[in-house]
Every structure is written in structure tokens, then in C-alpha cells.
Symmetry: C2
Subunit: 391 residues, 2 copies
Amino acid sequence: MSKLVPPHGNGRLNPLLAPEAERAGALERARQLRKVPMSSREVSDLLMLGMGAYTPLTGFMDEADWRGSCLDMKTAEGQFWPIPITLSCESDLARGIGIGEEVALVDGDGAIFGTLAVTEKYAIDRELECTNVFRTADTAHPGVEKVMRQGAVNLAGPVTTLSEGHYPETYPGLYYRPADTRARFQDLGWTTVAAFQTRNPMHRSHEYLAKIAVEICDGLLVHQVLGALKPGDIPAEVRVAAIDALVTNYFVPGTVIQAGYPIEMRYAGPREALLHAVFRQNFGCSHLVVGRDHAGLGDYYGPLDAHHIFDQIDKGSMEIQPLKIDITFHCYKCDGMATGRTCPHGEGDRLAISGTGLRRMFADAEPIPKEFSRPEVLDVLRAYYDGAGST
Amino acid sequence: MSKLVPPHGNGRLNPLLAPEAERAGALERARQLRKVPMSSREVSDLLMLGMGAYTPLTGFMDEADWRGSCLDMKTAEGQFWPIPITLSCESDLARGIGIGEEVALVDGDGAIFGTLAVTEKYAIDRELECTNVFRTADTAHPGVEKVMRQGAVNLAGPVTTLSEGHYPETYPGLYYRPADTRARFQDLGWTTVAAFQTRNPMHRSHEYLAKIAVEICDGLLVHQVLGALKPGDIPAEVRVAAIDALVTNYFVPGTVIQAGYPIEMRYAGPREALLHAVFRQNFGCSHLVVGRDHAGLGDYYGPLDAHHIFDQIDKGSMEIQPLKIDITFHCYKCDGMATGRTCPHGEGDRLAISGTGLRRMFADAEPIPKEFSRPEVLDVLRAYYDGAGST
């Protein structure tokens, strides 16, 4: 009975990871190939291609797909795709690569992650990409800055992913491929699933938003960005334990699961919200929670731009639907949790604690209001900040 | 830009109320016609037909439509319609009525509400109707009892509604026809609207459910059943004032409006939930809040039967979607409002006050917990119970 949303595009998952039995041999052969180094963003895209999250893409985009994706959010074939997925290369290296040549794709440490059968080499208009995708060419924007300083030539062609890096070992019970999440949803009898994107522990505002999603859908996927941490970030295992503490004590059993996936955020705001939606459909989700300033950064995007863009794209661009939720908080006049759409009161009535503020409160052993976070969650975080839980 | 859900069926509202300018003359002519008395349920159905709420129906159903509606929830033409809309008549009176004859439809006091051009007379299998529509033939069920004791012959044919009774005068600013609610939604810039059916004031559990709806939709229509009161019912003007007090103090301006409509509940549980959805689509609503035991009575229906039936009907039967919400309450362990889907705690942790319990608390001047109802709402109700507000 249970029928999940189909994968994006042709309706079949298209993971590009070589079958496990063939991987060692393929890696061995790849060592003989010319090596093309990838940026951390390109590595993460190769991993996403490998696991099938970027279905139906078959590799790094050629010029026609790159241009279509930038300008119209569509590949040359008309497939909706809101952000170009490309591989850059320094000119000197590119010059020696022949069309039809197979190259090895390596990370910053020289580790091979896959191979690319080169079908095209092209130069891009970086400004065109940035002004369309990021709505700015300001290199103070980290996503823009990466495009601006990437190699001068893009290499296109089908890829085979040969390694998932450290993810399966580092995140057992958390690293799930789209086929895995789909199987888990089926096992749980879910048809409609909302994805909630996070890279932080969940406090009561996140709980509230998640519970709205649980009202609408059979289940909630707390879907975490795995990967390099910024200073001040909570390590994944602490975050998972904190979210587990919340789910165990405050959600109905069988309505929430956690998973993680290896993307590097571009902070492209509305365009990235669309990309998040597309690949969540591949993971089997019918809905994506799109919060205030989703995937945004600084003042580059209006706080609800990532909501509005879903109304601006062609109907039928994808099957997953946004679940647009404004900012959530505890309001003392409402005497409960609320959002910007449901609370008519002022900022002064609302409880707001920033990430920095919270860390300071932990450092000063200041009591944290129960309206902000559940005691079970705070216990996990306190143990971590006290150094006891940072195993 | 704003595009509401189209009316049910052919996409055009079909109100059967005679234009105001013609009504007096038509009523005058109707006085010369043979009179067919209607039950209170039949009067309410004629009013619903008149205002366009039963679009695309053109009158009372003939035998083929009656049977199709009972057995397959479809008219003979294949139009989804989950409950037969019929007019009964005593045998003696029916015998004298000729096919093609126009009759006057009168209420229990003999007041003319419309005319019917008789196209068919037929006897029904009451048991078939009741077991299909009500899932029971038990005459202790008031909806069943009305079918069982109605006249032996059904009269079918197109109707013209000639009076809206006392509703427009009794409920100014509340009695809105489907064309009126649609115009108001357009004025407010709403595209998606959730209807919330109520015949009671709204306490915090209703507020919570309404706020979930406001998260999903542009606006909420608090849609009240107008009509005869049962002992213990709150009069409409008090209910409206109590809901206004809630909306003014606890909702964002421009997200909620109130309206009322003249139906007599059948208490047919799941089938009636479908009917509620169909005519809410005519009122311009994209969603209907379907709560626990929606339109149910006693133990005749499982508490979530009215949720499940929306999954059992053919896709495309209607465009409006159910917004299924389980029972809502304050939970002390959750430290907030919750539903059966989001609260994992026990009944003992939840605040529950019955309607009877609440009336007793008012009578005894017992304090009512703020977790149960807003003080502004309680003030309105207290004034009414104290006799001061029963104007």
C-alpha cells in the first residue's frame, strides 16, 4: 500500500556509486589515470551523485546543462535542476586532458573518490553563475567566493563514484543513502514524509516546527548535514544524542527518524532551498520544511525568499512540496510555542536566545529557561560543554 | 493572482436561489401550488441548494442519483456526492402529485421556501440508505431515525429556492453564501483556505488546531453551523463574540474570518465528513480540518473513521483536501498544547474538561485553568452564563 513520492526525473533512483564488489578493482585501475583535484564542494557533490541523491543526473554538467541550470533552472533536456553541479579544473591541467579521456577525481589529500569520462571542456561566465544562483557576485559570500576562485575550465561527463570516504564508518546508523531511507520509510509504513534540515541540536522552537510537520505527514526525517565543522559547531554524535533525547521524551514512537548526508552548503538561499527539495524527493520525502532564511546567509536574501521561490517555479517542476514555516519561538503572551504566522504579539513577548548566547549561558552555568529547550536535551549539551560527553 | 479552488463538479457555482427581484412574484405564484411539507433537514438542504453550497446539484435527487449516492457516493452521471439529498413526502399527498407538476415546498409552519418541478416519484429502501450512509439502521441514531420516519415517497426534480428564512436577518455579518466567502477570500488575497467546522466557542485546543491550519494555509474560515439549538448550546452571538475575543487577541490580523451556514447535522460520521468537504470546496476552501470523530455520534464510528475515508475514495473525487488532526489538549509533560499524534504522554498528563464540566465550573464560579481557555474568551462566556451577556 505504502507508496512514496517517486525519485526526481525519470522515477528511478540513479546512484552512481560502483557496486561494492567492483570498487577495489576500479580504484586500482583509477590510480593509473590522470588525477583531477576537487574542491571540498565538488567532493560533496560527487558523494551526492554516488548515493543517488542527485538523481537523475549522471555526472558533472556540460555547458548546455550548466547554462540552463543557471538561467532557467533546467537542464538542456528540460529537467528541473536549480543549481549547476559542475567540476572545475585549472587551465594547465585541463589543457592536457583529451575528450574521451577518463580521469581520476581526488580530494585535497589526493584520495581517489571516483572517475570522470570527459565529454566536454568549457569555460564559464562566473558572474552569470553567481548572479543567477546566488543573486550576488559579492566574493564576501562564501559560495560566490568558491565559484570565483575555482579553476578556469569545467570538465563535464558521466562519473562513477568509487568511495564514500569516511562517512559510512564515521556515522553508522546515521549515514543513509536514498535507497536506505526509502526502505526505512516503507518499513515504518510511511507514505508522506517531511524532511527537516538541521546542523544543530533541536530546541523547543525546532520541536514545534517538527510537530507541525508530524501533523501533516506520516513521519519526519531529521536530516542532518554531515561534514566539516565550523568553530562552535556541535559534533554530530552529540547532536544526534541531543536529538534522540528530544525524540524519545517528546515525540510519539514511530513518527521521527534521523539520518545524515554529505553535502557542503552553498548558502545560496532560495535556489539552495529548491535543491534541498529536489534531493529530499530522492530520499523519499514528500515535504521539505522550509524555514525562515532557509540556506541563507547574512542579508543576501529576504527572510521569506526561500518560501516565495516555490511559488515562482513551474508547477510540476518536482513532486515534493515545501512546508513553509516562519520563525518559531516561545511567546509569553501566547503562553506557548508559536510562529511568526500565528503569534500577533511583539518581539518583547518572545523568548529569543542565540547560539552564542546559549554557549555563554552554558559556560556561566546560567539556568536555561524550560521554554527554550527540554531539560533532557540540555543535559546532553551540558555534558558535552563540561567536557564529560565529548567522547 | 489569487486563485481559489474551483467549485465542485463543473467548476461554476450553481446557487438555486431566485434573484431577489423575482422572489416576491415567485412566492406569490407559489402560494397557488400544492404544498409539500419538508422536515427540518429537508429545509436545511433546500437552503444549502439555494446558496450554492450543494453545487453542482440542481435539486432533490431522483432514484438513480439516490442509489448511486448511497452505494457508490456518485450520482448517475458519476459526480462524487457522498450523501443523498432527497425530499420525502407522505404517500397520500404524493399520490395526487403529477409528474411535471410544480409544488411549493413549505416548512413545519407552512412558510414557503421554494418550489420543486416534480420529475419523478419513487420509494426508497430506507435500510439500504441507512446502512450505507450511517453504517447503521439503529433508530436510536437521530439521523437514521429521521430517514426511518420520513414519508414513504421521494419527490425528485429541480428546485428554486425562494427564501433564506430568518438567516440573513438573524446573522448579519455571519451568514455568507459561497459566492460571498469566495469574494472575501479574494479580497484578503488568500488562495488556500482551511475551513474549521464548529458549533461551539473555541478554547485553546481549538485554537491550537486552528493554528496548525494557519501554518498550512493562507487563512482560516471558522465555519459555524447555524440553526436550531440543543439545550446547553451557546447562542450564536455569544459564540461569535467569544471567537472574536480569541481571534483578536491570539491570531495574526488577516488570517481568520468567521462565517455561518444553515445545515442540519446528520451525524453520519465519515460520510458526513466527506459532505462537509465537498460543500466547503464550494465555499472556496482548499482544506477542511477533520478532527477526531468528525460529525460522529456516540460509538457509531471509530474516532478516526472520518480520517480514513478520505484515503478510501477515488483520487480526484474532489479538490479540497482534508487536514486530519487528532484530538488536541494541553499536556503538562509537553508543557504546551499537543495532539494525539505529537504527544507521547498519558491521559493523566493531559488537561481535559468536558462541556458539562465547564458549565458546572462556571455555575460554581470555579477558576478555569488558563491552559484550557483564554481569559478573554472566558470573560465572554462568564458574562453570558451570569445572564449579563445574553442580549
